[in-house]
Amino acid sequence: MSDSHPMADVAPEPGVRKPDPVLVANNLQRSFGGLQAVDIDHLEVQRHTVTSLIGPNGAGKTTLFNLLTGFDTPDFGEWHLNGGPLVGIAAFQVARRGMVRTFQLTRSLARLTVMDNMLVAAKDNKGEGLWGALTGGWHATEQANEDRATELLERFGLEHMANEFAGGLSGGQRKLLEMARALMMNPEVVMLDEPMAGVNPALTQSLLTHITGLRDAGKTVVFVEHDMDVVQEISDWVVVMAEGRVIAEGPPEAIAKNRAVIDAYLGEHHGEAAT
């Protein structure tokens, strides 16, 4: 990070304000029975950054993703994307507004081809409506989408698999496909839930390049990761959760030295997380 980065002046403390937040959450709470899975006072995500979300298993990271993307409903709280409130907005609408998520357990559409996986994600195809499907007139859009999909597949090294069933891909390839598919929607914010989990080390590096590439292409990336080395390498900002709360945030160097983090997380998890 160069010193001229807009985040340079931001204090490394939980709930701190950022100069240009794309995503803001206030007083977000979700409990399951007696368990408080998410309890966040204030959280902002700076535009055009790679923000890592770390924390031990069960810290509430996936639940937070679910809440922010409309897959789950909070007991309390509100959040905005680009100033637009997202409370009560259905998950598919959130995706259309430009915040797209992936899942911790990969969700490939197994009995669709890789190409069809990509094409499903394309926006505004009038052939996706019943009337359009019956009357036709969607082939031009389809062709343009296919071209874009081919480009993305090439970027992710999957173009040779375009006509295979997605169910036939390896675990790592599915992760790549899921990411490529999310990009097909031209999102503004990409939320990746453990994109590195279960991926063999050879692929990890290329995934990382893709993630930083997204930032450089003007997108905002929020991603969940366990491996501190990876986090150190590519993040602009790190948010640490434990027991549903944000216990620390700051640039990666500061987080690595943070006592609270070491106690809550690194102390017990650093060793095993890399496995």
Binding site: F32, G33, F65, N66, F71, Q104, L105, D193
Partner: protein, 419 residues
């Protein structure tokens, strides 16, 4: 050619054509001493499988005739509230003729002997009270059946559509040991033991022969449900082939005279049904809370992977659950047969209400299914205060849908996990 046409009709519409003109009729004559007086204006109702086919009124000569759609077995009821004052059935228990067999083309005649009756009017308190008791009884039966369905769902995630056949199997097996001419003719109490064992055994067999191998193949749940409904369909018709299509009653406890409790007349076997069911359900509750297998069952329901990794033999627990579910369903079936009739599709006809109960309580929660069973039973029976009797099963569907709209996870359930 004609042969084929007859064939096609038989396959598609079990109700034969109208042209043959089957009917049920009779003459209502009151006998007082030597005198014979025709009784007019009395309502007679014909039903089939509980739903009304038609009704008619006796004319000035006491004659009545009600057309029926075809050959078959019908129930004919005389509505005693429409008898004139001072006229009553010579046998007050014979207001309903449970199986009137009409042959093809036949104008069947039936007789209701009338004499000087003492007509008693039923107060609305008594009616509500009696319905409440039947509601509890029906609820007890539903609860017994529903718990097993919910437990199996909890540990395997499968809604087992063949659960209904475990209910029927219990009732039919008990009938074999109790009343079949080729069976040992034990009392119903004794016959219940092998019936429950057969029910449990069927649960055990299903899990071992079908469900465990399919889980091992990673078959998806949707496909598994298709398999389970196929199984249900096959077993149901196998029972039909072996047991026959007619409804039959257990000779034991048949025609029990009612007793009076708090001014409500109750048949003792209803109370026994409710009592035994409550005891058994309490036993299931204790088993789940206290026993090792029971706690393990709850753990597997919560999170099978976690349970597996904490050293629980998940497959063994699932097997126990299936056997328990089969046994409970069989017991429910015996009570159902005791209170209604033993019939090849009795379980299937109860399935809708079982589902309503399970959804009401929360799919996968054992206690929810128990409470749901009783609630559904009472709602369905009490609803007959407002809707015709033949529509009461449809009330169960209304309960189901309203619950799904209002609180899909049920009274006791929690929302499912995403991500």
């Amino acid at each position: 050619m004609f042969w084929l046409a007859a064939f096609a009709i038989a396959a598609l519409s079990p109700v034969a054509s109208l042209a043959t003109g089957e009917s049920i009729g009779g003459k209502l004559i009151q006998t007082v001493g030597e005198e014979r007086i025709p009784t007019a204006g009395v309502t007679i109702i014909v039903r089939q499988e509980g739903s009304e086919i038609g009704r008619g009124e006796s004319d000035s000569e006491g004659s009545w005739e009600i057309p029926v759609p075809g050959a078959g077995v019908y129930q004919v009821t005389l509505d005693t509230t429409t008898l004139p004052d001072g006229v009553g059935l010579t046998n007050p228990d014979a207001a309903e003729l449970p199986d009137v067999n009409v042959r093809e083309g036949q104008a069947k005649k039936v007789i209701f002997p009338l004499g000087e009756g003492t007509t008693s009017s039923v107060s609305s308190y008594e009616r509500v009270g009696a319905l409440f008791i039947s509601g509890l009884k029906l609820g007890a039966i539903i609860a017994l059946c529903a718990v097993g369905l919910s437990l199996v769902y909890g540990v395997t995630g499968l809604v087992n559509f063949a659960h209904a056949e475990m209910v029927t199997l219990g009732a039919v097996t008990a009938y074999f040991f109790h009343a079949s001419p080729v069976g040992p003719q034990w009392s119903l109490l004794v016959a219940s033991v092998p019936a429950i064992l057969v029910g449990a055994g069927f649960g055990w067999l299903q899990e071992t022969a079908i469900w465990r191998p399919l889980r091992a193949r990673h078959m998806g749940l949707v496909s598994m449900m298709v398999v389970s409904i196929g199984l249900s369909f096959a077993v149901r018709h196998l029972i039909l082939i072996i047991f026959g299509g007619e409804p039959r009653a257990y000779p034991d406890f048949a025609g029990q005279p009612p007793i009076e409790i708090l001014g409500v007349s109750v048949v003792p076997k209803n109370l026994i049904t409710i009592g035994v069911a409550l005891l058994v359900l309490a036993g299931v509750g204790l088993f789940l809370q206290k026993s090792r297998a029971g706690t393990a069952m709850r753990a597997v329901s919560d999170d099978a992977d976690l349970a597996e990794s904490s050293g629980i033999d998940v497959n063994r627990i699932i097997l126990i659950t299936w056997s328990l579910a089969g046994g409970l369903a069989a017991l429910g079936g015996i009570f159902f047969g005791l209170n209604e009739a033993v019939q090849w599709d009795m379980g299937f006809s109860l399935l809708l209400l079982i589902f309503a109960a399970v959804v009401l309580g929360g799919l996968g929660t054992a206690y929810g299914a128990m409470v749901g069973g009783f609630v559904v039973g009472v709602i369905v029976e009490m609803s007959t205060l407002f809707v015709p009797n033949e529509l009461k099963t449809a009330v169960g569907l209304v309960v189901l849908i309203v619950m799904l709209l209002v609180r899909p996870q049920g009274l006791f359930g929690t929302k499912e996990r995403i991500g």
